[in-house]
């Protein structure tokens, strides 16, 4: 199952856990778990994309105080195969 997931990811392009789950006929939660497993094994790299909206980062922007700071996870393939 993990290998199937890796094969799909190595085909390249933009993916989401939902599209991967559809292709593997499983749930997005399972795909996320498996991606975390692959990340632990160094086969994927995960980054947390944040809108760094705080006074330190964008103090000169007048929307700083009202800007939501949220986090979104993105995974990319690692050079390790």
């Amino acid at each position: 199952m993990l290998k199937k997931l890796l094969d799909l990811i190595h085909q390249g392009g933009s993916l989401t856990p939902i599209t991967l789950a559809q292709q593997l006929d499983t749930s997005p939660a399972m795909v996320e778990m498996m991606m975390e497993e692959l990340t632990r094994r160094g086969l994927l790299k995960v980054s947390e994309f944040e809108k760094n909206c705080d006074s330190e980062s964008c103090g000169s922007c007048y929307l700083t105080k009202t800007c939501h700071s949220n986090t979104q996870r993105v995974w990319t393939t690692s050079t390790k195969k």
């Binding site: 199952m1 993990l2 290998k3 990811i9 190595h10 085909q11 390249g12 392009g13 933009s14 993916l15 989401t16 856990p17 939902i18 599209t19 991967l20 559809q22 499983t26 749930s27 997005p28 939660a29 399972m30 996320e32 778990m33 498996m34 991606m35 497993e37 094994r41 994927l44 790299k45 980054s47 947390e48 994309f49 944040e50 809108k51 760094n52 909206c53 980062s57 964008c58 000169s60 922007c61 007048y62 929307l63 105080k65 009202t66 800007c67 939501h68 979104q72 996870r73 993105v74 995974w75 990319t76 393939t77």
Partner: protein, 678 residues
């Protein structure tokens, strides 16, 4: 197989009293394990530390039907690998102390994740029960877990429970009774290593046979060895004869991917059990998300939807925002200027000019933006709230992939629609330095809300009813220019590669009206504060430069600066006033309008829009909008570019790039529009 009976034989030989039962509670953090421990033991519990560790150890006792039950609350762990002290404590306790029973607490609401630990516990040969906690939360989330089917699928008792309401405790105690009486049968179905590595496991099993310490099951030890478990590796290395160990070590080196095969077997086991026991009707949020995403994240359809949404935002702006803005311009600002002149009739001429031209003309013009900018705030806030923005970034990312750009690039770029500053900051997510530089260079090409507002302000002056189409076209064109510039830079300088990119998309949500209104209110106040500080300061500076040295605009310092740069402006059809307005937008994009307000405040019988529409041709208006959209970013963005690149060189590259593209595009647009007779 009746593991209990096997255990009882073992226990009797070890002299463990048959009326005392030791039960270990295992589970991941936040599964309700401690709640169950407290429910069962009440006040009769002891808290200390595990020997030699700083990890908390909780144990307690309670009497049930003349039996004493000794309960151990194991540390919360996600697996039984040797990755953390908690995991080592939990597995060593089960393997070495050999409790009579392990109770795994799992969450029905998060069953996939919970079952991972169970997939490891079940191979430990200690009798196992599963408490299926939080069944109420699962139901609230729109799905159910059938405990009986799960029991049949896994082969160990499964007891449904809502620990937070003490519901299901009686059922758990009944199972303890049955266990005590030896009535429970355990037929655990174990996860299997994937078929392509089965022979490797069998080989390892043979090689370690007879050498594994008594407290480790052989099957488990060989799996852990193949998984690269450091503790088991060291233990077996120390007990096996050297020659045999070297053979094992060679096998492990040849089959480094065996760990993946074992983990894969566990996920297949979880998937089978979930498929059997979880009933998830396709009508909930996930189902709706799936259906909507078929369109919203489609490589082509998604782009069309994005274009339509951007168009709809502009349509709303011109249908609702622009008429209110024009009304504020002609019915509030013009009379206010006239009123100020009356009030200040005895004041010196320069004071009247400062108030009427500088403050009312400059800041007032920007304040009339408010209806337009509120619509942008509302539209972008709504799209963010419902979860669409992440999709928009995703489909654009797909589009960027076609062009050979880095996968993560458009995620920060998309933030640029709100403000270019967080877009530049957001490039920190990109590990590759060339890709990050490229993305930073492209970020200012994304039209920020301030630039969108300037376009929405000016377009109706020149294009009336067609303002919507023109603005929409300009925004799509600026995205196209961003793509073209990106592709060229990428191909020539950075040579980007196509890599896989997986992005987490949130579920769609129904937005909360109260939160949305509060956000619009807060942002409107922020905008007004911005107008009352930066814009006011710049308006006064522009006014002073336009007033001095002699009080005549055409011979003022501003005119001198304007005339100096006018030759470049002429390529785009801009006179010195429009060129100066463009330059002042460097401090804040809205300053372009504030400057025009100051410069044309002198003919304030008409609103600013009417004045500029009578002064300039549509070709000039179009060129001004193009150059405004693509011009060098505001000072705040430039400062962040310097901060993030750590280099003046790249900051200057960005400024020059934006200047070349903006002036080139506006000159081209002006030439074409003029030939078309606009």
């Amino acid at each position: 197989m009746n593991l209990y009976r096997e255990f009882r034989q073992r226990s009797d030989s070890n002299g463990i009293k048959s009326d005392t039962l030791t039960i270990a509670l295992a589970g991941q953090p936040n599964m309700g394990k401690s709640t169950i421990f407290n429910l069962l033991t009440g006040l009769n519990q002891h808290v200390g530390n595990w020997p030699g560790k700083t990890v908390e150890k909780k144990e307690g006792e309670f009497q049930h039907n003349d039996h004493t039950i000794h309960l151990i609350d194991l540390p919360g762990t996600y697996s039984l690998s040797a990755n953390s002290p908690e995991e080592i404590i939990a597995r060593n306790y089960i393997l070495q102390e050999k409790p009579d029973l392990v109770v795994a607490v799992v969450s029905a609401a998060n069953l996939e994740r919970s079952l991972y630990l169970v997939s490891e516990l079940i191979v430990l040969e200690t009798p196992l029960m599963i408490v299926l906690n939080m069944i109420d939360v699962a139901e609230q989330e729109g799905f159910t877990v059938d405990a009986k089917i799960l029991q049949a699928a896994i082969g160990v008792p499964v007891i449904p429970m809502i620990a937070s309401r003490a519901s299901g405790v009686r059922g758990l105690l009944d199972y303890f009774d049955q266990f005590f009486e030896g009535k429970l049968e355990f037929y655990p179905r174990l996860p299997q290593i994937s078929a392509d590595h089965q022979h490797v496991k069998e080989l390892i099993d043979q090689l370690i046979d007879g050498f594994v310490p008594d407290y480790y099951p052989k099957n488990w030890a060989s799996m852990k060895l193949l998984e690269g478990d450091s503790e088991i590796y060291e233990i077996l290395k120390s007990v096996l004869p050297l020659e045999r160990w070297e053979t094992i070590d060679d096998i492990l080196k040849q089959h480094e991917d065996a760990g993946l095969a074992i983990a894969s077997g566990r996920y297949e086991w979880i998937e089978r059990n979930i498929r059997a026991a979880v009933h998830r009707p396709k009508i909930g949020q996930v189902g709706l998300t799936d259906r909507l995403d078929k369109f919203a994240t489609h490589p082509v359809g998604g782009l069309i939807i994005l274009a339509i949404i951007l168009g709809l935002t502009f349509w709303l702006t011109f249908t609702i925002g622009s008429p209110i803005q024009e009304w504020m311009d002609s019915k509030i600002l013009v009379p206010l200027g006239a009123l100020a002149q009356v009030w200040l009739i005895d004041a010196p001429a320069w004071v009247i000019s400062l108030v009427v031209d500088g403050v009312i003309g400059g800041v007032g013009a920007v304040v009339t933006f408010l209806p337009i900018i509120i619509i942008f705030f509302a539209a972008f806030g709504f799209l963010e709230d419902i979860g669409y923005m992440a999709r928009a970034a995703y489909v654009m990312d797909n589009f960027m992939h076609w062009m050979g750009l880095h996968g993560k690039s458009f995620l920060p770029l998309f933030l640029g629609f709100g403000c270019n500053v967080p877009a530049v900051m957001g490039t920190r997510v990109i590990e590759s330095w060339p890709a990050r530089i490229l993305t930073i260079l492209l970020a200012p090409f994304v039209p920020c809300s301030a630039r969108l507002a300037v376009i929405a302000f000016i377009a109706p002056a020149f294009f009336g009813r067609n303002a919507f189409i023109i603005s929409w076209g300009l925004i799509l064109s600026s995205i196209a220019i961003l793509t073209i510039v990106g592709v060229i830079l990428n191909k020539v300088f950075f040579k980007g590669e196509r890599t896989a990119f997986i992005m987490e998309l949130p579920l769609y949500h129904i937005p909360n009206l109260r939160s949305a209104m509060l956000l619009i209110w807060q942002r409107s106040l922020s905008f007004l504060r911005h107008a009352g500080t930066i814009i006011l300061m710049m308006s006064i500076v522009v006014w002073a430069l336009s007033e001095f040295p002699g009080g005549d605009l055409e011979t003022s310092f501003l005119a001198q600066i304007g005339n100096f740069v006018a030759p470049v402006g002429e390529w785009m059809g801009l006179d010195w006033k429009l060129t100066v307005a463009l330059i002042t937008s460097f401090m804040a994009k809205e300053n372009a309008i504030a400057t025009l307000g100051v410069l044309y405040g002198r003919t304030a019988e008409l609103g600013l829009l009417e004045t500029i529409s009578m002064t300039y041709s549509p070709a000039v208006g179009l060129a001004f909008m193009v150059v405004t959209l693509l011009f060098i970013p505001c000072a705040a963005t430039v400062a962040v570019i310097k901060q993030e690149t750590g280099s003046w060189k790249w900051t200057m590259v960005n400024i020059v790039l934006m200047l070349v593209v903006s002036i080139g595009a506006a000159s081209g647009v002006y030439a074409i529009a003029s030939r078309l007779g606009l």
